[in-house]
Symmetry: D2
Amino acid sequence: MKKTKAAILGASGYSGQELIRLLLRHPHVEITGFTSRQYAGKPVAEIFPRFRGQTDATFSEPNVERISADVAFLALPHGTAAEFAPALLKKGIKVLDLSADFRLKSATVYKEYYEHDHPAPQLLAQSVYGLPELYRDQIRGAQLVACPGCYPTSIILGVAPAIKKGLGKPESIIATSLSGVSGAGRKVVEEYLFTECNESARAYGIPKHRHLSEIEQEISLLAGSSVAVSFSPHLVPLNRGIVSTIYMTLATKPADALAVYREYYKDEPFVRVIASLPDTKNVAETNFCDISVRVDPRTNRLIVVSALDNLTKGAAGQAVQCLNLVCGYEETSGLLP
Amino acid sequence: MKKTKAAILGASGYSGQELIRLLLRHPHVEITGFTSRQYAGKPVAEIFPRFRGQTDATFSEPNVERISADVAFLALPHGTAAEFAPALLKKGIKVLDLSADFRLKSATVYKEYYEHDHPAPQLLAQSVYGLPELYRDQIRGAQLVACPGCYPTSIILGVAPAIKKGLGKPESIIATSLSGVSGAGRKVVEEYLFTECNESARAYGIPKHRHLSEIEQEISLLAGSSVAVSFSPHLVPLNRGIVSTIYMTLATKPADALAVYREYYKDEPFVRVIASLPDTKNVAETNFCDISVRVDPRTNRLIVVSALDNLTKGAAGQAVQCLNLVCGYEETSGLLP
Amino acid sequence: MKKTKAAILGASGYSGQELIRLLLRHPHVEITGFTSRQYAGKPVAEIFPRFRGQTDATFSEPNVERISADVAFLALPHGTAAEFAPALLKKGIKVLDLSADFRLKSATVYKEYYEHDHPAPQLLAQSVYGLPELYRDQIRGAQLVACPGCYPTSIILGVAPAIKKGLGKPESIIATSLSGVSGAGRKVVEEYLFTECNESARAYGIPKHRHLSEIEQEISLLAGSSVAVSFSPHLVPLNRGIVSTIYMTLATKPADALAVYREYYKDEPFVRVIASLPDTKNVAETNFCDISVRVDPRTNRLIVVSALDNLTKGAAGQAVQCLNLVCGYEETSGLLP
Amino acid sequence: MKKTKAAILGASGYSGQELIRLLLRHPHVEITGFTSRQYAGKPVAEIFPRFRGQTDATFSEPNVERISADVAFLALPHGTAAEFAPALLKKGIKVLDLSADFRLKSATVYKEYYEHDHPAPQLLAQSVYGLPELYRDQIRGAQLVACPGCYPTSIILGVAPAIKKGLGKPESIIATSLSGVSGAGRKVVEEYLFTECNESARAYGIPKHRHLSEIEQEISLLAGSSVAVSFSPHLVPLNRGIVSTIYMTLATKPADALAVYREYYKDEPFVRVIASLPDTKNVAETNFCDISVRVDPRTNRLIVVSALDNLTKGAAGQAVQCLNLVCGYEETSGLLP
């Protein structure tokens, strides 16, 4: 079978690195382009020595003209991704965007949260939110997939069964998330230095982190009405991983909330509903999202805990899962441990 | 001035180690006993090499008969502390208990949460909850001080101004906490091995962690009515530190919640109300609790974030602060950085 | 093609866990036994939640009678492994031993370093040291393979080209190694608690660590004469990885030591000779050993630095590499990233 | 007693931060200046929130004209420090330089290692190497003290007794050091990001790290002849701490090397000779250097292991110890735990 040609734009960040890791071992994909403004001209294996012996490729300047691919992954900053997408689509290249640029339906909300005009608002209508567990069929036929953020994936997968099965009240959602430092990307700023992050735990972005925009959009769609959510991200000293602990007021007294969750996700290859509370270490470098749930009769609340790897199910792995759908491959191709 | 003689029972755990650190430099205290069942007969500086050159003392078996002290710190497991307290008090030794044994007013609640009968229920009535910010005057005259747990300190200090000043509704409190691993004590069990905790973040003890009992007791006292609280502790890979992020439904629209907090704590030597969000690294090895607050008009909630060192303000430092009150010393003696 | 049946004895330690990870994805192997005294009767995926969805197997008591396998991996403590090996071999099961029991040619040296009599000295003569880069042909025909320790692998691979190509003097070797904490195994002892290891770096086992016995045996064999080596292991706060920095007095003035190393290892699938200095993070969870080399004319010394993952190339990965040789599979089967 | 006025130039780096920590609690010092180009005009407690409540000072531009102090600490990059020193000295301000600028006797060696001409070679002759254990008397009378680097302190203190007491041969010294990431300073570069350093251990700067120049200078002075040394620094994932493991060929068969070391350092307040191997965690945030020693008859080598905190005894603490000597205070003032 002919392999799908994939280009990675922005291949030298952490999501780019994870895309390389996953695609190098994907049975149906060949990487035909690795772009990086910063490292153009340098061998990929020099910048990421872990890939020595696995690829001889060299980073190149991002240049749509020269990209020869069936599919392009955009591991670029928001704002930049939307500048590349139109030309790629025009060339007939399908786009899997890992940035925030095409996740929101509304250019107004985009501007509110990202503080600049949307560079390509005409594409918002055709973009599909790349969360296979919710939008599998639409992703299959999509030209432009907007892969969700890491926090939103952990929270939306966590609350979807509770909302759809009537366990919890959507308008009561409060989500606290803990993230490893790679979630901030490979940005070279003081606050992400080792000595600043090690032995440090802290909240940030309260009460209006940018990811809140897509969290509320998707939860509102699940709930069938507009919903405001409390979301508090925290930075903790680990490389990879997100844990989200989510509270909802009970809408009913469930006999067995865990069974409801298990049933809801029983056919999902990458969601594992488990009895014990999830731990980031059990999902690190995998595409799994582990979820557990507790009912607290004392406070009349449902508490959901989810864990995933922010670079895999929270970014590159999810994008590859979407590629598998877009290209008609087995959904788990290249993604099992 | 004659120094206060202090004995540390259970001196070889992490709270014991922190007590040693603080008391060795306390200007008005002399440590006259270091007990440890496990290490009896061994030099303190052999078990804790950081104290080499600072003390020549040796650990001894815990034996009330032989303890010669004005004050005894109990850094013992719950259940055990309550076995030692009566005899110490009988000898006229004041007791600063770091365990959970004398924190609850009700022996019934104690049994519900700690799963054994209270060994000395007759002492519960006289015990004072050792949180100086709430009970300064009572601590001054106390024979038996029950120093609060690390999580409760971070949460109670976080919500007290909101409740007392009418900013938030006590019955709506949801608290998520992140703790460093020393919070689990020096228990030699698999789940606290380095390889199990490093690169791991996880929730545990949901929805009914033992500390919930004292959290609810104290919040109910602050609120003037019985209140149920949601509390979710998390374990993150750092040695020391707790961050608590606490949500409350607004009871009013505060003009300036931060100003209310600043005013409330303006005379407290160890509470720092700050504009930026607290970080464990800024309170490590100090007795400070840093607190900040945000108002979220979108969700009508108040969000409080507090940070402290679980071994200092969350355990040994707080106990020394209580000792200073009990003995009539400057409250900050031996505790400033 | 019929799969090789493999049993893992001692499957609940860290080497066992890594064997499970590697064998679950090995195309030619089926795991037919997971033994663990501690966890017998419990599902593998309960003890190692990362394997949820990948295996339904249960740990069983180690019992040679009941083991049905072509090959057995012994991930057992030294002393114990040698008790199981004879019966397994008698049943016609090939043995890949990850313990120290069959690495030494001399039962006397074994007793000197391991402080007990060798339980099965009669097998020492037939055992092959499982370092494919040195003993590939012998491993192919072996019934009993003694996979090297993690430190020895990093040091022997580091010095072999220098000795065989006459760059350095074997009798001058000084090796300093840094190891992640998983190298100590899953032993539940105080010194490996998170709070003891985090923010800690320390030497241990100086000057006569147990691994020195096999390091000297193999270096003496390479050198053709008996050689004493200085070896200083250090514990550093990371989960996985070993870096060894090795000094040798130059035996010649090499024009290009790196080229000599590259040539020496040019056909090795798992040794990467690189220009930059190795970093554990680039070999984590891989079977690669990265090596670089520097010549210091000022001190007339050769300095070699090697890095590998102590659980993969330093334990389970190397054992799987040996299995591939023993079974006649492609040497890299199941081992590429 | 009137306090000594101290200015800290370059107060916003990690050494500057540690100087602030130590001087804020020093009984005889008042900080009269905190300079920082980057943060001029900002409150010290905003940049270092751990100092909230301890100082109301503001960072200012470095400007010798405006500095009013008895003593100036230079926590500046090499090259920059030497630009400030002459003017400060001219104003009669004593200089405690934490940079490399005045450590070497030779401007030629300086240029060889630091790759630029020395900005103030005329001061090299009067500068005193600020290692109190070797140069206590000279420091007492010095106008310009060049505080040693972190690696050199750990290595020179480690070998001094062996050289002076004839235990080991100076020309055989090989030193391997492990450093926490704060040793690199607060430089905002990719290689020091949390995600790059965590789960990473690596050698760097082999075979000619800049600190080698002062290591060899001082060891040659101790030995009475010119000596070349092998030195290999490593970066390990901890905030603070250096461990150095040093090998020397035995010059004699010592009956009790540890006793020789104990005797040599018996009057030193900040060197602790210990039987067990040193651990960075036992010296963190202290001015102690812990040293142990082993004799290996098999290889005829002495192995010394030392540990210190790179920011305290390896930088700021040592500078304060020198200040105490320069000002005639108790040498331990402000420096005991």
